[in-house]
Symmetry: C2
Subunit: 436 residues, 2 copies
Amino acid sequence: MDRVQIGIIGFGTVGSGTAEVLLENRDLIRGRSGVDINIKVIADLNLRWDRGLNLEGIRLTEEAMEIVEDPEIQIAVELIGGLTTAKEYVTEAIKRGKHVVTANKALLAHCGEELFSLAQRHNVLIGFEASVGGGIPIITAIQNGLTGNRITKLMAILNGTSNYILTRMRSELLPYQEVVDEAVRLGYAEDPPTLDVDGTDVAHKLVILMALFYGMWFPLEEIYKEGIQEITPQDISFAEELGYRIKLLGMAKSRGKRVEARVHPVMIPKEHMLSGVEGAYNGIYLEGDFVGPTLFYGLGAGRRPTGSAVVSDIVSIAKRLRSQQKSFSSPIWALGPKEEFRLCPMGEVETPYYFRFQAVDKPGVLSKISGILANHQISIASVIQKGRRLEGSVPIVMLTHEAKEKAVREAIEKIDQLDVVTDKTLIIRVEAQDAL
Amino acid sequence: MDRVQIGIIGFGTVGSGTAEVLLENRDLIRGRSGVDINIKVIADLNLRWDRGLNLEGIRLTEEAMEIVEDPEIQIAVELIGGLTTAKEYVTEAIKRGKHVVTANKALLAHCGEELFSLAQRHNVLIGFEASVGGGIPIITAIQNGLTGNRITKLMAILNGTSNYILTRMRSELLPYQEVVDEAVRLGYAEDPPTLDVDGTDVAHKLVILMALFYGMWFPLEEIYKEGIQEITPQDISFAEELGYRIKLLGMAKSRGKRVEARVHPVMIPKEHMLSGVEGAYNGIYLEGDFVGPTLFYGLGAGRRPTGSAVVSDIVSIAKRLRSQQKSFSSPIWALGPKEEFRLCPMGEVETPYYFRFQAVDKPGVLSKISGILANHQISIASVIQKGRRLEGSVPIVMLTHEAKEKAVREAIEKIDQLDVVTDKTLIIRVEAQDAL
């Protein structure tokens, strides 16, 4: 039986999960792939804590470069994460003709173009299934299963932590900060969970998915990004009442060569499949020109699910090595007549909006607000105004028809300056019913 | 640029969809795969009707063997379906060293073992993404994305026609036959839609998925099978009231080497992701030992979605041809060490049950029924008995705790012989809340 030697760089959560899959299901993988995958070396700066695994026969080292430089190792598995040393190891491994598997979404979102060109020149593969959607095999689904499709729309819950927070806020009607504190205490979220809740992590993953759809790497800093920190349980209740759920989404929509890409909370109809994606789960909703609407659902993080994704890449490369492949099929963006897509500026995006104004409970307030909206060609679809006073002010909630982001920002800036308006207006973009 | 020559056998719905993807997205596919896929010949017995496609440069023939015998054609795409001539063409193509792509679930469910052994001997691939789940890339997801996992549980909506019927019955509270007649009239269902509604089509797909999970082909005739013909709108309403939805599922569960495989209507909790799979959509819910729960959702049939799946196989084989692969990686069941799974007899299956008894509205009826259940160690979880009379009899609905199928059948046989029971008892198996 063919044997493939691998080295794992980074032995934290994902590294241990990867080793666990390979060790526990070694026979299964051997049977399915025809290859015996052998972990030759594992490198980590901290080898002291017990991973609960039988590591007999595996060399442990603090020196990641040992893996990169070992000529026997065919696949280097980078699971350090982040933008510090990971890039060096990946680059050096590629230069030495090694295939690379990585779960590092930040690295790919920042340096994808550079790394994939390098891999192309050295005729090696980069596997990155684990970089998006945890255990969900979304990369292979897009690269292989949907390869004949133009992907025209993506709406995706890509961060389990923020989805868990929103789910708890809804089910328990707890304020944001309280749920975050609890999640940190229980070890479900990092302290502080900034990159998870502010949309950064989602933006990383969005840029990777967009590279698959459009064959080009969009600059991360040009992706519009907004987090969930301003959402209140009150907004979640209003959304319920209006037939919606609030989710933090990564979105990409294309029409011709024009691409809208954004990360922010979205109100989606309760009946949409994405509304059923709760807790720490991820859900990736795609529309292709032939396949139509699809959804992929599963755990977006965690030792075992992410390990499952890393191993799928390792096995896939190992099978290609076994089949004596000479030229390693380029990832889809490295070839071809390049289509030049361009990002639509955020100000030009058109979508329905949810506004929650905080205003004093006096006659004439509604007329002032709606007057400004009308002046900006923003047309109101429905209003909820309730009598209950919150420290002297009341919430007024509006859903609009499609409006232009630029007009909305201008209108809201004026509204927030009204003396009857007591607080900053909260804006949530809405995905309308016909998006089902 | 490399060019791969293909021939399409069968130019009906799926054949036209396949040609449509390849023609309409030819540049896109070329860019993504590095291969130009050329349809050299299309064969069909009826070439007269207009498929709405520009077929310039493609040879049309009534002789499928022309494709099989053409040495230039590298991939034969079998889209005739059924068990008549399809097998001959597939077999002959393989023997001549051609790779095969097929959407033919009946053929694979009946002759999978034989065909894949033959392909193995001739070092060719059989692509069958389109045989299960229409456009959903479920085969590549399992074969590649989840390859490190033991799949321990499958619950899948695999037939769009029956799911459409159940959805309409629920939303409009219409009887089965009325919805079927309407679906046939609108062209959504075949006339009669026997294989779709009686579980046969689902059983075909289940056997294919099980081959992927367990590495062996289970005999189709040993899969327990029950259709949706007996379900009434009344049952659907009772299910709603109890917090469930009724879906026709293909199920496979394994514990160690013991596999439960069955096709029948199931009551699943409303909050389960599968309950949101409505209309003509398919949904495949899987649990793997590492990945945990996952769901794959999309259109289960139709010209364009199924075309998308067929094309994904064609491109995948074309990419391997381009990369100068010598040995074509065997599908996972063709390699050892063979694990010997065995089917659990239906009588030994344990699950909660829904019973709808039809009985005269007299004192003592409930006590007679529950007495027989108790004698068979079947424990009742809840009862709904309502006063409304239906032609002299009333429905009594019960949910049980876990009970053994064998005991249930014996008990129901006795109950159905009671003189107070006016009609055959309807049984629906229940997937309990903890299955979420």
